[in-house]
Symmetry: C2
Subunit: 359 residues, 2 copies
């Protein structure tokens, strides 16, 4: 990773962008890159994709890295990993592995991104499974970091402990808070609640708190995510994905309902005009684009995932997150934190579920 060190010495952050990924490809990624470059004068971008698609873009701090293939949103992981070896997604991650970029960003197929990232970059020592972490707004006006969000559908207690350690590292970097609070997502606050695996996770997390590796506050429930009861909420990927998407569905329903009600008649249309600043503030606060850009944690390199349906505003947000993580040495911080918790992670014996991805 000598390349990264040199770049960092020169105060430049280099991001590799999978320009072909997502539902909209270059129509979204290129305008986002343009705006990002304007805002961050110390950033460079490696635009990865098919040369003809990227031909129209020119910026002194951007360079095209050609890749002939594209991972489709519905490609099976196996196809993305084995058949499309020159995909824009893979070449972008390869830039991180080679030290040409400090982080990669893609709006492509989550499963493929995770598999390729894991195959090329490998997991950090002590981590069996990478996790996807994102931030959601909370009632305290801050953000709650939730992980995992879909990378792992069956998690053991040991995985949940690893997620807690990685999430703590992420938040301590982003919030500059040494001991962010961690909650275990459960269906009741009492330690006796939940499945056997969740109860065991609670024991491991309490042990980690006892040894000073985590600021574990106990079980939290679904409503605590938006209440902001903990800085970090840990759960398996199935549960996290459902919680996230259910929230998106509810938010859309509310927005749709407000639009419908405010356009019902002349009086309500007038009301909408009067209430516009408040509605605008609500929309801004609820705007999931502001929270776009999930971190793939636990890898030997930084990779960020944008929502597949992201528009340019949202994709730019994912670029910013990658930039923040890279400029704050997220990777080193995660590594340090894991090294510190190593005895604990080693104590927690591997289980039958802990199988590596095919690689």
């Amino acid at each position: 990773m000598a390349g990264v060190a040199v770049l960092h010495g020169a105060c430049m952050i280099v991001l590799a962008v999978d320009c072909m990924g997502g539902d909209h490809g270059v129509k979204v990624t290129l305008p986002a890159c343009q705006r990002f470059l304007e805002r961050y004068p110390d950033a460079r971008l490696l635009l990865v994709g098919q040369a003809e698609a990227l031909a129209g873009f020119a910026h002194e701090r951007a360079r095209v890295v050609p890749a002939t293939e594209v991972v489709a949103m519905d490609d099976a992981v196996e196809v993305a990993l084995r058949k499309k070896k020159d995909s824009s997604m893979r070449v972008a991650i390869q830039q991180v592995k080679d030290g040409a970029a400090q982080a990669a960003v893609s709006a492509g197929n989550t499963g493929a991104l995770m598999a390729i990232a894991r195959y090329l970059l490998k997991t950090l020592e002590g981590i069996e499974r990478p996790a996807i972490a994102t931030q959601l707004p909370n009632a305290k006006g801050a953000a709650t970091t939730v992980l995992d969000l879909g990378a792992n559908v069956d998690c053991t207690a040991e995985h949940l402990l690893q997620f807690a350690v990685m999430g703590s590292a992420l938040v301590s970097v982003l919030k500059n808070d040494g001991q962010p609070t961690v909650g275990l997502l459960n269906i009741g606050e009492e330690a006796i609640k939940g499945s056997d695996e969740i109860k065991r996770a609670g024991e491991l997390l309490r042990a980690a708190a006892g040894s000073g590796d985590l600021n574990f506050i106990g079980n939290v429930e679904g409503n605590d995510i938006f209440k902001g009861a903990a800085d970090i909420v840990v759960c398996d990927g199935f549960v996290g994905n459902v919680a996230l998407k259910t929230s998106e569905g509810l938010a859309s329903m509310i927005v749709g309902f407000l639009k419908e009600e405010f356009s019902r008649g002349i009086f309500t249309k007038f009301a909408a005009i009067v209430a516009y600043p408040v509605l605008k503030a609500l929309q801004r606060r609820m705007d999931h684009r502001r929270y776009n850009g999930a971190a793939l944690l636990g890898l030997r390199g930084l990779v960020f995932k944008s929502h597949g349906s992201a528009d340019a505003v949202a994709f730019e947000q994912a670029l910013r997150r990658a930039y923040d993580a890279a400029s704050n040495q997220l990777l080193d911080r995660v590594r340090e934190r894991i090294a510190h918790a190593a005895p604990l992670l080693a104590d927690s014996a591997p289980t039958p579920l802990a199988q590596p991805l095919p690689a």
Copy 2:
């Protein structure tokens, strides 16, 4: 159940109410009972609880059934089941078992309610585990029925199939629609997504659709609950509980945010007055009290669970749901539907997870 038949012949619906349950006990349950009796002239109530707490209530269609004990919200299931044999919760369910009431309603501790209901009433033939089903508003202006919501934290594919059959019976009664649509909650629409258990559940549900027992439309995601993509969404109790509580948390955050923004200054206070009808409509549509009253399905008797923190409006809603279910012969409909699907349920072999509750 001769008592029920006679009562039904006389067009009376009798509900047994656990008046002591919930966070607020009689302060909430009695006013709710009063209003309910006023609205439903063909209903009778058995008010179960400590005689002194119920002494102030008098109505010609209400009768006190004394119970000396109360299940506390934090009582362990074991304590509620074995130590408090004269609890208001248990005596209320006993009324259903004895045929003195067609349904029981309680705002008490969910785990205790499920355990006692299961112990006293037993599960229906073909059902290994009862489930908790509730309705959530959707963008189509209708309701999505979700189950399970917390009764079962580890579910096999067979349990999910049973939930689908029971949920279909519930919705076909409530909506008078013979073939409501069923979706399997997953983290992607493709059949290859999710854990092995979820994939196997998908296979069982497809087989059930093939034999005409279910109108299964495939996998749905979290956002589809509020979109209204399926009439019934089936999931394990852990996932369902998290999805429900996460939604409650988000809804509270939005309401809190609107209050904060509208009270920020003189102009926004004016805006709030102008926008009042719309905000009122939003509040009404989002009001979780309107959706209070979850059905415990799969038992040989009707039991409804109110939110523990319910106020009188919400608790009355739970009474209404129990009334609707009883007057529409929900129990017979569920039983018929299960009998029809019996060959299918029998085909799906029991698995190691399928352990009965201690009884």
